[in-house]
């Protein structure tokens, strides 16, 4: 049952001579949700963007369903990315397209779907994130939470094998965080394989199969939330979360 979807092995990245990622390895089995935790600048975002080569890694291997990705093969790279959804902190919806067109455009341009089929599929996905009624609106007419839900629909429409989420709620006003987390929760329950960087500890505790704690470009702790966050576990993760709680208080 536990079939590995995504395997990341010994990923390293230097920027300007400074190591940003060092020897990062992780695996995601089908239906697993793993959460990346760590202070700002720990390399969470870089790791996620290296995994789908938006930032090309210097070293390491990435395997999707057992097949290694050749970083230099542009066609393979596009095909790989089409199967790996990405959700950004600042949404990155296409500003000149309506919500529906945002979801439909990759179906047409990447999947080669015709306009009608793509529209129908876009409507379906927007319905799934509760955005059917706003399908005709442009990003500038949507709230942050609505934009992020459209971005999730856009990723879902490609039938991704795994979704990478880069702090999907960090740019949202506090009252909008809930609606986006609810959508992600639904996905998790529906068995979507996901890797998510977040500071939402309650969410991580409740839903994550595993927490990866990153600091200075290294995954220093890795384990189930129960173990890492247990009272008296003495882990760096627990320390950090206590710190987060105090900040929030």
């Amino acid at each position: 049952m536990s079939q590995t979807v995504l395997q990341v092995a010994h990923l390293s990245k230097k920027l300007g001579g400074k190591p940003i990622l060092q020897d990062c390895s992780l695996t995601l089995d089908r239906g697993e949700l793993k959460v990346l935790i760590g202070p700002s600048g720990a390399g969470k975002s870089t790791l996620l963007q290296c995994i789908n080569c938006l930032i090309p890694p210097d070293e390491g291997k990435i395997l999707l369903e057992g097949r290694a990705l050749n970083f230099n093969d542009k066609r393979a790279l596009c095909a790989f990315r089409a199967q790996v959804g990405m959700i950004f902190q600042d949404f990155n919806l296409f500003d000149h397209l309506t919500a529906e067109e945002n979801v439909a455009i990759a179906l047409r341009k990447v999947r080669g779907m015709n306009r009608q089929d793509a529209q129908r599929r876009a409507q379906e996905e927007l319905g799934r994130v509760g955005m059917s009624r706003r399908a005709g609106l442009y990003p500038a007419q949507l709230s942050g939470g609505q934009k992020q839900r459209v971005a999730i629909a856009r990723a879902l429409a490609m039938d991704p094998k795994v979704i990478l989420l880069d702090e999907p709620t960090s740019a949202l006003d506090p009252e909008l965080v809930g609606e986006v987390l609810a959508v992600i929760k639904d996905l998790a329950r529906g068995g979507m394989t996901m890797l998510m960087a977040t500071h939402q500890m309650d969410f991580a505790r409740a839903l994550a199969h595993e927490i990866l704690f990153m600091e200075q470009g290294i995954i220093i702790e890795q384990g189930s939330p129960d173990v890492l966050l247990a009272e008296g576990s003495g882990t760096r993760t627990r320390d950090f979360c206590k710190h987060l709680l105090e900040m929030g208080a």
């Binding site: 700002s40 938006l54 950004f88 000149h96 455009i105 990447v110 740019a171 500071h199």
Partner: protein, 230 residues
């Protein structure tokens, strides 16, 4: 009375020149559009060699006065023994200049877009070409419209200089008529009025186009205030 009579007499001739001016400017702007977009894309996304080549081109055609370029083109045709009709030479020179300016209008617009737009396109599996054609350019061209309208109005008025090559446009016909009739004031006022009206009409049209393609609520630099982590 005499002046009005002169104007009435030369009007068909001058309007013929207006047609020449409009065609030359339209061709030059078209050439600038067709070549300026790839140059802008090359400068924004290309490798070092491409960026340097585009930079050199832009530097040359923005750096030399149009009058000098017109004479240079004339000299070039003479030395190559290749007689280019004045109209074509004018179009080419203006087209080359407009390409340089338009490329910078488009490049500025492309670079003003948030980086995340192309990133999101790539993340969906689009090729860079598709991302630029489907996502970047539709936005960048909209943003370019005000600058493009400016470029049009400048090029239209610069086109008056093309009379030095003997292109039969507004200015050369007004000059010839003025020398014939000695009605300099009236004829150049007429020429000025025609340029003025052309500018006014086309700028109105471009403004209408701008409104037509406007995206509700759209503005650049749409980066959201970063929710600080921690």
């Amino acid at each position: 009375m005499n002046s009005l009579q002169v104007i009435w007499d030369v009007l068909p001739n001058i309007l013929g020149g207006t047609l020449t001016t409009v065609s030359a400017v339209a061709l030059a702007l078209g050439m600038g559009l067709v070549l300026g977009i790839p140059l802008a894309v090359g400068q924004a996304y290309g490798g070092r060699a491409v960026r340097a080549a585009v930079g050199l081109y832009v530097w040359f055609f923005r750096g030399v006065p149009i009058l000098v370029l017109l004479f240079l083109s004339y000299g070039l045709c003479l030395s190559l023994d290749f007689p280019l009709p004045p109209f074509l030479a004018s179009c080419l020179v203006m087209g080359c200049i407009s390409t340089a300016y338009q490329s910078q209008i488009f490049r500025g617009a492309i670079e003003s877009l948030p980086q995340g737009q192309l990133k999101a396109a790539r993340a969906l599996g689009m090729t860079d070409g598709c991302g630029i054609a489907c996502i970047i350019l539709p936005q960048a061209l909209r943003l370019s419209l005000p600058g493009w309208a400016n470029e049009f109005s400048i090029l239209l008025k610069d086109s008056a200089v093309c009379y030095v090559l003997g292109t039969q446009e507004i200015m050369s016909r007004a000059t010839a008529a003025a020398q014939r009739t000695h009605e300099h004031l009236a004829l150049f006022a007429l020429a000025g009025l025609i340029y003025f009206i052309l500018t006014l009409v086309v700028l109105k049209l471009l403004r209408a186009l701008e409104n037509r393609v406007h995206i509700p609520g759209y503005s650049t630099g749409g980066t959201i205030g970063m929710g600080a982590a921690g």
